[in-house]
């Protein structure tokens, strides 16, 4: 077998987290610019924006569930907190968009702390139950306090005005992509830091973690707050994209979709969040074109999307239990072993180390 040389040293990314993740984000930003500006139609561009804000919510949940081991069925509700905060600010104030988004993140993070504190005492199904109640109950407040949240009618958000002749929808998409990439860089940094290690240590063994000096409850609350902040930003972007925030925008199914998308993409990985986002946005699209082709009515649409999603989820879990990204990683490491390592020597070495 011909030996393919390993890529030269300069090709490797630097280890410093900020530099490394910024390089990746800038490359990704370039790709997204080409994709949205030159390749896709305006309609599909809007979908890319949706993928971006789903990726934010999924990335945050991925850290909470994948890295820290806490399950949440309530992220739709936390998105609602971010969305309503941003919408209320847009209706009542004239802050600039960045400030409004930051406040939305902060409000959702505070909600995350409030949810996260009781969550430190709950595990598995009990935590799932508690967060489920959150997902069902919190959006109803939108109806309950109609004078503030305007009930079913909802609050109208003001889309950011683009500079010059840029298409407003394209401009919003770019803002969403930029927001997603910034969040990805920050989350990747966090996971490379001692906090990432603490999250995973607490997930694996709480007793051992506390004996190592990790404040288990505080670590769990931090994970919840970070995750909720991401959901808040995703919610604010959802509010901007749909133009209106009403209680109907945040049904229980949103929370479940986010959880399923996160698992599908690969729990604990940030790239997986993008796969999950793609699945959440495109499966309903494919479903509607399939049902159109099959001659099903519009009523079949909604169900078909859910059925396809469920089927793909089952398939992925069977083929790659650690999600799409986990599957790619396995293929990657297999290819790496086959292509870059001389066969004979390496096999004997792995046998030696494996046999002790």
């Amino acid at each position: 077998m011909p030996k393919i040389p390993r890529p030269p040293k300069w090709f490797h990314l630097p280890r410093q987290p900020l530099v490394r993740h910024l390089i990746l984000a800038i490359v990704a930003a370039g790709g997204f610019y080409l994709l949205t500006n030159d390749i896709l139609s305006t309609y599909n561009t809007v979908l890319v924006g949706e993928i971006a804000f789903y990726a934010i919510a999924l990335g945050g949940l991925s850290i909470l569930t994948g890295a820290n081991g806490q399950i949440s069925f309530g992220h739709g509700a936390l998105m609602a907190v971010g969305a309503y905060t941003a919408a209320l600010l847009m209706v009542h104030t004239h802050f600039n968009l960045v400030l409004e988004l930051l406040i939305a993140i902060g409000a959702a993070a505070i909600a995350g702390v409030i949810v996260g504190i009781p969550a430190t005492r709950l595990k598995g199904p009990y935590l799932a139950g508690m967060t489920l109640i959150l997902a069902v109950g919190l959006p109803l407040l939108g109806n309950q306090y109609g004078s503030v949240f305007n009930g079913d009618q909802g609050l109208v958000t003001t889309p950011p005005s683009p500079p010059g002749s840029v298409n407003p929808e394209l401009w919003l998409t770019w803002i969403e992509i930029l927001g997603a990439l910034v969040i990805m860089v920050l989350l990747a940094n966090l996971m490379k830091s001692r906090f990432g290690r603490m999250f995973r240590a607490v997930r694996d063994d709480e007793v051992a973690a506390s004996l190592a000096g990790i404040h288990v409850a505080r670590t769990k609350v931090i994970a919840f707050a970070v995750s909720a902040g991401c959901a808040g930003l995703a919610g604010a972007f959802l509010a901007l994209s749909s133009g209106v925030v009403s209680s109907g925008e945040f049904p229980l199914s949103l929370s479940i979709e986010i959880l399923a998308g996160m698992v599908l993409g690969g729990a604990g990985t940030l790239v997986g969040a993008w796969w999950g986002g793609i699945a959440l946005v495109f499966f309903p699209q494919w479903a509607s074109s399939i049902s159109k082709a099959a001659g099903l009515g519009t009523g079949g649409n909604a169900y078909l999307g859910t059925i396809i999603f469920g089927a793909v989820l089952v398939l992925v879990m069977m083929l790659a239990p650690s999600g799409i990204q986990g599957g790619f990683r396995r293929v990657g490491s297999f290819a790496d072993r086959r292509l870059f390592r001389p066969r004979g020597g390496d096999v004997t070495k792995s046998l030696q180390t494996g046999s002790e």
């Binding site: 920050l186 966090l190 490379k192 001692r194 004996l211 190592a212 990790i214």
Partner: protein, 285 residues
């Protein structure tokens, strides 16, 4: 004066229950679980550079004692002081900051972390970078991480574990996993090390290695060792405390404890010990 020169053994034999050089001091500790006394007036102390063994039959209260010291269980009565400071309402995660490290009866490694990451996790006591620095991923946070990693690799090398640094614990034999757990405890550079059955599941040879490793630690820290394997305890410890049904039934040097008839009774039962004593008397005669 206790602890002042004239050889370790002599000093420790003459040692009173408590003295000023103690790092850890446990006095009159009592814990009751549902009407049953798990610990009943237990006192012991560990000085810097001293290895103290806690032995006793199953259910004697050894692990409960550790759990009380670590703050997992609150005692009904009694006090714990570390370096003359009383430990009240302390939580397990406070121990590392105080300079106390503990290994667990199993291995208690983080299965989702590589060996080197597991060891780095033991250094929680020395990390400084806050969450803002971590999120930004600046040099302050990354330099600290790199220094910790280097230190963890140095400890792994010292313990002959460096070849496993990037593996996950599940891929390693049990004996190696136990050594990694010890390496993680040492990463915090503790002043007092609590070892909860470190030899369980080890082969004879591995146990000898463990014994010499623990003896070497004496120069840097005090060690409190809970263990079932008598050979290891007898050959390693400076002093031994014997627990039975939550009470201290004997304490002293290994030789003293071995001679104590109550200890044999506790371990072997009344009748057998009588036979044993008779046999011993015969031998002496």
């Amino acid at each position: 004066m206790p602890g002042a020169g004239n050889g370790m053994t002599a000093a420790h034999t003459a040692r009173a229950l408590h003295d000023a050089s103690d790092e850890l001091r446990v006095s009159e500790l009592s814990v009751v679980f549902g009407g049953l006394a798990a610990l009943d007036g237990v006192s012991l102390s560990v000085a810097k550079g001293e290895i103290v063994g806690v032995i006793g039959p199953n259910g004697a209260g050894k692990t409960t004692l550790f759990n009380v010291i670590c703050g997992f269980v609150r005692p009904e009565t009694g006090t714990i002081t570390f370096r003359n400071k009383p430990l009240r309402h302390h939580q397990p995660h406070d121990l590392a900051k105080l300079g106390i490290a503990r290994t667990l009866q199993g291995v208690g490694l983080f299965r989702g972390l590589t060996v080197v990451e597991n060891v780095v996790a033991g250094a929680q006591r020395r990390v400084r970078a806050g969450i803002v620095s971590a999120v930004i991923g600046g040099w302050r946070s990354s330099r600290e991480e790199m220094a910790l990693r280097r230190r963890a690799l140095a400890i792994l090398e010292e313990m002959d574990l460096d070849e496993h640094a990037d593996r996950f614990p599940a891929a390693l034999p049990y004996g190696i996993q136990k050594r990694v757990a010890l390496a993680r405890a040492l990463m915090s550079d503790p002043d007092l090390l609590l070892l909860d059955e470190p030899a369980s599941g080890l082969s004879e040879h591995q146990m000898d290695d463990l014994g010499s490793m623990v003896r070497e630690l004496r120069s840097r820290m005090g060690v409190l060792l809970v263990e079932h394997h008598m050979d290891l305890v007898m050959s390693t410890c400076d002093r031994i405390v014997v627990l039975n049904f939550g009470r201290v039934i004997a304490a002293g040097t290994p030789a003293e404890v071995q001679r104590d008839p109550e200890v044999t009774t506790a371990y072997l039962g009344e009748d057998v010990s009588a036979v044993h004593q008779n046999a011993g008397d015969d031998g002496d005669a």
